[in-house]
């Protein structure tokens, strides 16, 4: 009698593997971001893989929000901010002179810390950005109603709101509002979704719902998430980047790798200190 090995050993390997160059969503090289004379982010180089959830974690003020906002040029809205270095998106530097920031933001969508639906109906919230960006319904393509439904379904909100699409987006609960904001973002068909602490204003259950949604969306989109809650990063992400402040309070990248490696076997003592709660 031979021993039939019908059960395969398909447990993920724990070897540290960084994303390969051929499947990158965004690549930042030697990024320095300043607010006036203060350098908020210092010399960060980061390769973010496609169709994965990448989490940016670190203590408050480490520049993780600034970093994620630089990925779709939202940091430009802060007066006095400027940036050195490159951010490549599809091989093109999004900070090049010829690039239109509006177009960048359309391709790289963003979900914010506090749910911020427009004071319009649920339907309008989803349709607004799409309409703005030249959504056109033709034969073979969805019309707006279908598209709104599709986006709300993707955001796992359809069943909850399908009977009240004309009600205000503000009438929803916090967690629902945040999912509405996600639906609104995917309605403009971005390639990358940036999430800046998307669940920090939500209760634990709503938080878990958003995290679950991120796992589902990552099959179609690349997700980059900033979170001050490292447990959330651990639960939800494939890759984790840990940032901290150096002595002149600039944000620096300490360690970047697969999430399970970062959380079970960090290479850097600062990462270890942070994730075990023995920081500083």
């Amino acid at each position: 009698m031979q021993l039939p090995f019908i059960y395969e050993i398909n447990i993920e390997s724990t070897e540290m593997t960084l994303p390969q160059n051929n499947s990158l969503a965004i690549e930042a090289t030697n990024l320095n971001i300043y607010y006036g004379t203060f350098r908020a982010v210092k010399d960060v180089s980061l390769k973010i893989p496609q169709n994965k959830v990448t989490a940016l974690i670190g203590p408050s003020g480490c520049g993780k929000s600034t970093l994620i906002r630089s990925f779709n040029r939202m940091n430009e809205l802060v007066p006095g901010s400027h940036l050195k270095g490159e951010i490549l998106f599809r091989g093109e530097n999004i900070y090049a002179q010829t690039v239109d920031p509006v177009e960048v933001r359309r391709k790289i969508g963003m979900v914010f810390q506090k749910p911020n639906p427009f004071p319009k109906s649920i339907y309008e919230n989803v349709a607004w950005g799409a309409k703005l960006n030249g959504f056109k319904s033709e034969l073979g393509y969805p019309n707006m109603d279908e598209w709104v439904e599709q986006c709300l379904r993707k955001a796992a909100l359809w069943d909850e709101v399908k009977d009240k699409l004309d009600q205000s987006g503000l009438s929803l609960s916090g967690g629902q509002q945040q999912r509405l904001c996600i639906a609104r973002t995917i309605a403009i068909q971005p390639e990358i979704i940036l999430m800046d602490e998307p669940a920090s204003a939500l209760d634990p259950i709503a938080t878990l719902k958003i995290e679950e949604l991120m796992r589902e969306l990552v099959e179609e989109y690349t997700i980059i998430v900033v979170t001050h809650n490292m447990h959330q990063a651990a639960r939800v992400s494939d890759y984790t980047a840990f940032l901290t402040m150096d002595e002149d309070r600039s944000g620096v990248l300490v360690e970047y790798g697969q999430t399970n490696q970062i959380f079970t076997n960090p290479r850097d003592s600062r990462t270890e200190g942070y994730i075990t709660g023995r920081y500083g």
Partner: protein, 412 residues
């Protein structure tokens, strides 16, 4: 999911949208500059009217009276009096001496009498500053042709005389002294009445009043009063202070009746009317200031056993004083600029005597400006422009005081 997933179609419309955005941005920006231009135009217009060439014709040529090239202004009082005595009729001289002996008047007053009574100088024509600067030659020609006897001088309508002289029917001599005194008297009464009541009301509403329907009505009422047109306050003042309370406001029951008037159109009426007018402003500003005092300070005070009034007096009022004073000064400058209610309660327009008590008749600076502006003679309009500059300087310095107070006092 029942329906098949379809990918949407997006048309690239960015160029159009960006072009649109730029157009509107320019519109917004231009509008802002237009707003600033309005202000500039307003100020320039006033300056334009205040300075410029004036053709002055006199019955007696001033040059004939001056000796050895000494100009009239440089003459001593005594020499000027001699000129007057030599040149005016005996009746007029007596009249002048009756008002106040010439020797007791100041040099500039005597000078004015010389100009008015001896030369009988009159303004024949005026030109604007812009005209005077750009068309000097043609103005000279025009003046020489139309007013051959007149002197063409570059004239400033804002001059020391404007401040020191009382009202006069000759624009060259007319001044705003009585009007400024009138404004000061009235503002004094306004502050004495409105400040304690306004601050008291603010303290009541912020520190004492509970949220009952009655207190809510008081609050709504104050907000509404702040929006009532000033002319309505004038009518209220006319009906109550001038008519109903006439015995008091005319001073009749105090036996202090101004011989020139026997009605209630006095400084007291005007001051009380303006007090009602600025009361809501003082209350609203003071409430904001009191609100800004953090609650923790009140709690700390109560925590060491202070009563409500002790807390208010020792902590809340000092903390809010900055805002209260700033708000009050702004309210006063509003009162100084008000015209309509005082016209309605019947400010006298032609007064040459300074007001000397609260039962005097009065005029104020804005009314002077109003009256001069409505005169048909263009030179009075120039005079009004000069008075406007005086008024604006007073208001600006009050604002400067407000800013100084805002910066000086500590802030919570």
């Amino acid at each position: 999911m029942s329906k098949p997933k379809l990918k949407p179609l997006f048309i690239d419309n960015l160029k159009l949208r960006n072009a649109n955005a730029n157009r509107w941005k320019i519109f917004f920006q231009v509008s802002t500059y237009v707003g600033i231009i309005f202000l500039t135009l307003l100020l320039l217009n006033i300056l334009n009217q205040t300075f410029g060439y004036v053709a002055i014709s006199s019955k007696v040529d001033p040059d004939s009276l001056t000796k050895e090239g000494v100009s009239l202004e440089q003459l001593s009082k005594k020499e000027l009096i001699t000129i007057i005595q030599d040149n005016v009729s005996a009746g007029l001289l007596r009249q002048l001496q009756r008002e106040m002996p010439l020797e007791e008047k100041s040099q500039s007053e005597v000078y004015d009498i010389v100009v008015e009574k001896v030369f009988e100088s009159e303004v024949s024509a005026t030109w604007t500053l812009a005209d005077s600067l750009m068309n000097k030659v043609s103005i000279r020609a025009e003046a020489a042709e139309k007013y051959p006897k007149a002197d063409l001088v570059f004239y400033s309508w804002v001059k020391p005389h404007l401040l020191s002289n009382p009202q006069s029917s000759n624009p060259l001599n007319a001044g705003v002294r009585t009007a400024i005194f009138g404004s000061l008297w009235i503002v004094l009464i306004t502050v004495i009445v409105a400040f304690p009541i306004g601050v008291g009301s603010a303290i009541y509403l912020e520190e004492y009043a509970s949220n009952t329907w009655f207190n809510r009505i008081i609050q709504t009422n104050i907000n509404n009063l702040a929006g009532v047109p000033s002319i309505i306050y004038g009518m209220l003042g006319l009906a109550i202070f001038v008519r109903t309370l006439e015995p008091i406001t005319s001073g009749a029951i105090f036996g202090s009746v101004d011989p020139t008037t026997a009605n209630g159109r006095t400084i007291l009426s005007a001051g009380l009317t303006l007090a009602l007018l600025v009361l809501p402003l003082i209350i609203i500003n003071a409430r904001e200031a009191i609100k800004a005092v953090p609650d923790s300070i009140r709690q700390a005070s109560y925590g060491v056993g202070a009563t409500r009034w002790q807390t208010t007096w020792s902590h809340v009022i000092p903390g809010a004083l900055r805002g209260i004073l700033t708000g009050t000064i702004l309210a006063i400058s509003r009162a100084m600029g008000e015209t309509a209610p005082l016209v309605v309660i019947g400010a006298s327009t032609y007064i040459v005597f300074d007001p000397n008590n609260i039962f005097s008749k009065f005029t104020v600076l804005p009314i002077q400006i109003y009256q001069w502006t409505t005169r048909p003679q263009p030179e009075f309009r120039n005079l009004a422009a000069g008075a406007i500059i005086v008024l604006m300087l007073i208001l600006l310095s009050m604002n400067a005081i407000a800013i100084y107070i805002r910066n000086k006092y500590r802030k919570y």
